[in-house]
C-alpha cells in the first residue's frame, strides 16, 4: 500500500499472526476466552437450530440461495454493468477497485473532497478486509466504528474474532472496563460508576455514539446485497446504528465486494429469510436499510459505490474454490465449528475466521496463483473435516471439499518451491508406495506389529522412540500399538477364519 510515511498503527492488524497451530495453542491456553466462546457459540447454535426448524422449506431456501449465487457468479460481468448503470441512473457514482489500495484511495479521495476529517462507519467486512480504517487514519481522517461490537473492538485496540459478533471473545465485565478506560479519550466518556449490566452498557454506547452520528458528514458502509436490476443497495443489521450512518450524513460511501450482487429485487426474498435465521437466529433482522442512488431532500445527497475485486476474480477462476463466493457472511459455520469454538477467531489471522475464513482467506490472498506464506498455507489444514459447517450453510458451500482442494494446492506449491521434499512429503510418498501393493503393505504390517510388540506396554505406547512427525500425538494421548498379526495375515493363516 502506498501513502504517507506510516505512523505507529492506531488500528492493530492481523499481520504477524503465526501459523494456525501455534496461534491456536495460545488461544487454547486462555481459559477466559474458552469460557466466553463456549458459552456464546452454544447459545447461538441452539437458537439457530430452533428458528431454522420452524421452516418446512428451509432446504428449499438453501437450494435457492445457492442457485441464485451461482447464477450471479456465472453472469458477474454483465450483472455488474447492469448495477453500475442502475446506480448511475439513480444519481450515484460507481467506482471500480482492483485491490485494497485502490479502494482505500477512492474512499479517502471522496471523503477529503467533501472536507471530511472524520467518518462514521457501518459494520462492514469488506472495509476490514482492505484495512480501510488504518488507510484513512494515515491521511488524517478519524474513523468511528458505530456497530456496538465493532466499537468495543476499536476502543479496546483489539482485533475482531467473529464475522458477525466481532467482540464474542469479550464478556460484559471486560466491556465495562474498556468503556470506562477508553471512551473519554475519543469522545463522550462513559458515566462514572458504570455497571456491567447490558442495559447500562448499551446506554453508555448510545450516548457516546450519538455525538458522532450528529457530527459526521460522511459515512462509510459495506453492503449485504445489491440488486443489479434496480441499483438498490441493502444493509441488514440489528442495532439501528447502521441506519443512523446510512441516513444522517450528507455523503455515503459504500464498499462492496463484487460477489454481493443479486440479479433481481425478488431474489432478496430468499436471503432476507435465510440470512437472519442463520446469522442471529432471528426470523427477521430488526433493521433492513435499502437505498437506490440519492433521493433529493432525503438522506445522503451524494452516494459513491465502490466495487471491490481484491482477489475475487481469481477465486472465480477456480472451479472448486469459487463456491466460497456464495458466502453471505452469516457466520453459522463459525458457530458450529468445533475448532473455532475452541480457538476463537483471531487464531485464523484474518478478518474472515472459522471454516469460511479457512477457505476464503487463502483464496483471496492468491493461493491459486502464487506460493503463499506459512500462516496462509496453514489455514486449509485448520479443520478436522467434520462437516458440521456444510449442514448449516444457507448457500450450501461444501467447505470440506474446498479445504481438501486447497490442501492440494498447498502441497503442490510446497513441492514446486522446495528443492528437497519436506519430511511430511517423504512420509506421504513412502506410505503411498507401501500401499500400492498388498505385498508391500503386508511386509510393513509385519514390521509394525513386531515394533509394537517391543515398544508397547499393555498394547499401548506412551511415546514413540525418538522424534518424528507424529510426536504431537503423545502430549496427552497414548497410542494403540499395531496388531501383532494383521487381518490379512490372519486370513491367510486361518483360511478365512475356518482354521481359527
Amino acid at each position: 500500500m502506498t501513502g504517507p510515511a506510516p505512523r505507529p498503527p492506531h488500528e492493530p492488524t492481523f499481520a504477524g499472526t503465526p501459523p494456525f497451530p501455534v496461534a491456536a495453542r495460545a488461544a487454547l491456553a486462555d481459559a477466559q476466552l474458552r469460557a466466553n466462546l463456549g458459552r456464546a457459540t452454544a447459545t447461538i447454535r441452539a437458537k439457530r437450530a430452533a428458528v431454522v426448524a420452524e421452516r418446512a422449506d428451509w432446504e428449499a431456501l438453501r437450494l435457492a440461495g445457492a442457485a441464485i449465487k451461482d447464477e450471479v457468479l456465472r453472469d458477474l460481468p454483465s450483472l455488474l454493468e447492469e448495477l453500475e448503470q442502475a446506480v448511475t441512473a439513480a444519481g450515484g457514482t460507481v467506482h471500480w477497485a482492483r485491490d485494497a489500495a485502490e479502494a482505500n484511495a477512492i474512499v479517502a479521495d471522496v471523503a477529503l473532497s467533501h472536507g471530511a476529517r472524520e467518518v462514521v462507519k457501518v459494520k462492514s467486512m469488506a472495509t476490514q478486509e482492505i484495512e480501510l480504517n488504518e488507510a484513512l487514519r494515515q491521511v488524517g481522517i478519524d474513523v468511528w466504528e458505530t456497530d456496538l461490537a465493532e466499537m468495543i473492538v476499536q476502543l479496546g485496540h483489539d482485533l475482531p474474532s467473529h464475522i458477525l459478533v466481532p467482540a464474542i471473545h469479550r464478556n460484559r465485565t471486560e466491556i465495562r472496563d474498556i468503556f470506562l478506560d477508553e471512551m473519554g479519550r475519543v469522545g463522550r466518556p462513559a458515566p462514572d460508576g458504570l455497571t456491567d449490566e447490558p442495559g447500562d452498557l448499551a446506554e453508555a454506547a448510545r450516548l457516546h455514539l450519538r455525538e458522532k452520528f450528529l457530527r459526521a458528514r460522511v459515512a462509510v458502509s459495506g453492503a449485504n446485497f445489491a440488486v443489479a436490476q434496480t441499483g438498490t443497495v441493502v444493509v441488514v443489521e440489528s442495532e439501528g446504528n447502521g441506519r443512523m450512518c446510512l441516513t444522517l450524513p450528507d455523503v455515503l460511501i459504500t464498499v462492496m465486494g463484487i460477489e454481493k450482487l443479486v440479479p433481481t429485487w425478488r431474489d432478496l426474498e430468499v436471503f432476507l429469510q435465510s440470512l437472519p435465521r442463520s446469522a442471529t437466529a432471528e426470523r427477521m433482522n430488526p433493521y433492513t436499510s435499502m437505498w437506490t442512488g440519492v433521493t433529493p431532500g432525503d438522506g445522503p445527497q451524494a452516494f459513491h459505490l465502490i466495487l471491490l475485486d481484491n482477489g475475487r476474480t481469481d477465486v472465480l477462476s477456480d472451479t472448486v474454490g469459487r463456491q466460497a463466493l456464495r458466502c453471505i457472511r452469516c457466520s453459522a459455520c463459525l458457530n458450529v465449528c468445533p475448532v473455532y469454538e475452541r480457538t476463537g477467531g483471531r487464531a485464523y489471522g484474518s478478518v474472515y475466521p472459522g471454516p469460511i475464513g479457512a477457505i476464503l482467506t487463502p483464496q483471496l490472498r492468491g493461493i491459486a496463483k502464487h506460493p503463499v506464506d506459512k500462516q496462509t498455507a496453514s489455514l486449509p489444514f485448520a479443520s478436522s473435516l467434520c462437516g458440521a459447517c456444510v449442514d448449516v450453510c444457507p448457500v450450501r458451500i461444501d467447505i470440506p471439499e474446498v479445504l481438501v482442494h486447497l490442501r492440494g494446492q498447498v502441497v503442490r506449491q510446497s513441492e514446486a518451491t522446495h528443492r528437497l521434499p519436506t519430511a511430511e512429503a517423504v512420509v506421504m510418498r513412502a506410505a503411498a508406495w507401501t500401499l500400492q501393493t498388498p505385498r508391500r503393505l503386508g511386509l510393513a504390517e509385519r514390521a509394525a506389529g513386531l515394533g509394537g510388540g517391543i515398544f508397547g506396554r499393555k498394547g499401548m505406547l506412551r511415546r514413540l522412540p525418538g522424534p518424528g512427525p507424529v510426536a504431537g500425538w503423545f502430549a496427552k494421548r497414548d497410542l494403540k500399538v499395531p496388531a501383532r498379526e494383521s487381518f490379512r495375515a490372519w486370513w491367510r493363516r486361518t483360511g478365512g477364519g475356518e482354521a481359527d
Binding site: 497451530p21 491456536a24 468445533p338 475448532v339 475452541r342 480457538t343 486449509p380 489444514f381 485448520a382 479443520s383 478436522s384 473435516l385 467434520c386 462437516g387 458440521a388 456444510v390 481438501v404 490442501r407 492440494g408 494446492q409 498447498v410 502441497v411 503442490r412 511430511e424 512429503a425 506421504m428 506410505a431 503411498a432 500401499l435 500400492q436 501393493t437 498388498p438 503393505l441 510393513a444 504390517e445 509394525a448 499401548m460 506412551r462 512427525p469 507424529v470 510426536a471 504431537g472 500425538w473 502430549a475 496427552k476 494421548r477 497414548d478 497410542l479 494403540k480 499395531p482 496388531a483 498379526e485 494383521s486 487381518f487 490379512r488 490372519w490 486370513w491 478365512g496 477364519g497 481359527d500
Partner: protein
Amino acid sequence: MAQDVHRPAQGLSRMRVALFITCYNDLMYPEVGRAVVRLLRRLGHDVEFPADQTCCGQMHFNSGYQDACIPLVQRFVEAFADYDVIVTPSGSCASMVRRYHPFVAELAADRGVDAGLSERVAVVSPRVLELTEFLVDVLEVIDVGARFPHTVAFHPTCHSTRLLGVGDRPMRLLAAVEGLTLVDLPRSAACCGFGGTFAVKNADTSVAMGLDKVDDVLGSGAEVLTAGDTSCLMHIGGLLSRRRSRVRVMHLAEILAATGTVA
C-alpha cells in the same frame, strides 16, 4: 449427504460379498475384521476377503496428496470388481470411496493417466456399504442375535453421519442387543477431534476437542464407548488410556458379533 444404498439385483443368497477391511483396521484393529466375518457368518452369509485390496486413499486425499490416490483407486476398483456388495467396518473409508473416488477418477482423466477410471469407479464405488447400512438395508436385520451385557455409549462419527448418512441405523442395531444398556452421550454429534492428520498437525486443538468428548463419555457412566470408525476410537481411546480410565473403546462390529460376556 445420504445416498441411495446399492442393492444387488439378484437374491441375497447368490450375491458375492467382499470385506473391505481398510488399511487402518488391517494393521491396527484386525479384531474388528474378524468380528465382521463372525457376525456375517452367524447371519448366514459368506464373506470373501479379496487379498489384492490395500487402501482407499483417504489419508493422502485429505492431506493434499491427491495425485498419490490415483493408483490406490485404480487398485481398489480392480480388487473389488467382481463383487456385488463390498462391506466395510468404517463409515469414514466408505464415504471416501462413495463420495471422493469419483473426484480422484476425474483427476486421473485430467492428468491423462487413466481416462476410463471414472467409468470403473461409477460401477464399483456405489457397491461399498458401511457395515450398518449392509445389515439394515440389504440383510434387513435389526436384531443380529448379539448379547453384550454392558453399559454402552455410542459416538456417531462425523463421516458416517454427515458424509455417509447412516442415520440411526447403528443405534437401532445396538438397541436390539440383548443385555446392552445404551446410555445417552451428551453433545454426541460433536466431532471428537481426530480428523486424520489433523490429530498431529493441529495436535493441541485435536486434544482439546477430544478431552471434551472424553468428559462427556466419562459423565455418561458408560463402561464401553463404541463407534463405527476405529480411527476416532483410537484417538478417544488414547486419551482415555492416558487418563488411566477403565472405559474401553470397541468397534460396533465387536459388540454386534458378541454372544456372551467376553469382549
